[in-house]
């Protein structure tokens, strides 16, 4: 038996730090770390839901029956696996975008990328930033 207060507190702490990381970081890759923590919080919540007896929250207060029914579809655990997969797809695509921004703007500082169009003052043409040695130290 495990008390549910622990998972709930862990979810709250992970979501809070995730939101802080999303808001407080300037480096694009570090912002993504905050997003990963938020997704981890969602995963813990799914797993906690999976640990509930069949019938969910309504069945919590009933006395535990030995060999009681378990959700045969294991919804919480399957949802966690799908969440992990979607998170992997998300971060792969997001890092590709970060790399593209770095190639075009020579920076991964999100406060320096205020506009995404060619009218941006920090926009430089692609060929000029291709040399890996030059530019930023």
């Amino acid at each position: 038996m495990i008390h549910l207060a622990g998972p709930v507190l862990l979810v709250a702490v992970l979501a809070g730090t995730g939101v802080y990381g999303l808001l407080a970081r300037r480096n694009a890759v570090l912002v993504l770390i905050g997003a990963e923590l938020l997704l981890g919080a969602a995963g813990v919540l799914f797993m906690m839901g999976s640990a509930l007896p069949a019938g969910g929250l309504l069945a919590l207060d009933e006395p535990a029956r030995p060999g009681g029914a378990v959700d045969p579809l294991l919804s919480g655990q399957v949802a966690t696996i799908m969440l992990i997969t979607i998170a992997a797809a998300e971060i792969g695509l997001a890092l590709a975008v970060v790399l593209l921004i770095f190639r075009v703007r020579a920076t991964s500082d999100l406060t320096a990328v205020r506009e995404l169009g060619e009218s941006s003052p920090t926009y430089t043409d692609f060929d000029e930033t291709l040399d890996p040695a030059g530019g930023r130290s």
Binding site: L4, A15, V44, I91
Partner: protein, 171 residues
Amino acid sequence: VSGVEAAFAAFALTSAVAAVFAVTSRQVVHAALWLVLSLGALAGVYLVLGGEVVALVQVLVYVGAVVVLVLFALMLTRAPIGVRRDLSLSTGRRRVAAVAGVAVAVLIAAPMLVAVGSSAVDTSGRGAAAGLGEAIFTGWVLPFELLSVLLLAALVAAIAVSRSQPGGGSR
């Protein structure tokens, strides 16, 4: 306090503390490595909550793949080495972000503690591979197949994005 609860507390505490360090560290590579610890401890949390297969998937996908991807991105964007103060916003804005983070944590914790905080569940024997595989390939087979299409689309999109040149045309 049972052994299961002690194990859960250890994993959860590790994960939470590592998460806090991951978002406050002043060295980019350290932040990524704290993320490894946080997500790895999260696999332990999944294990205690009864998801053996999910814990393995977490280790394989997150600790194995995602963090390597993050480290590669740090390397390719020539992330600064050593202690840097310009990784986060100014102190005032950081305070606003901290208030927002604490508010989210309280808003999540308070109603859920009221709802389920005093209950306990039995987590043993739920996450065996046989049952989970049967669930995925019977009831969840359509979402599962859609997920593989999503992964393929994300892969193709990542290649397309990273190969495309601004100003039209591709290599």
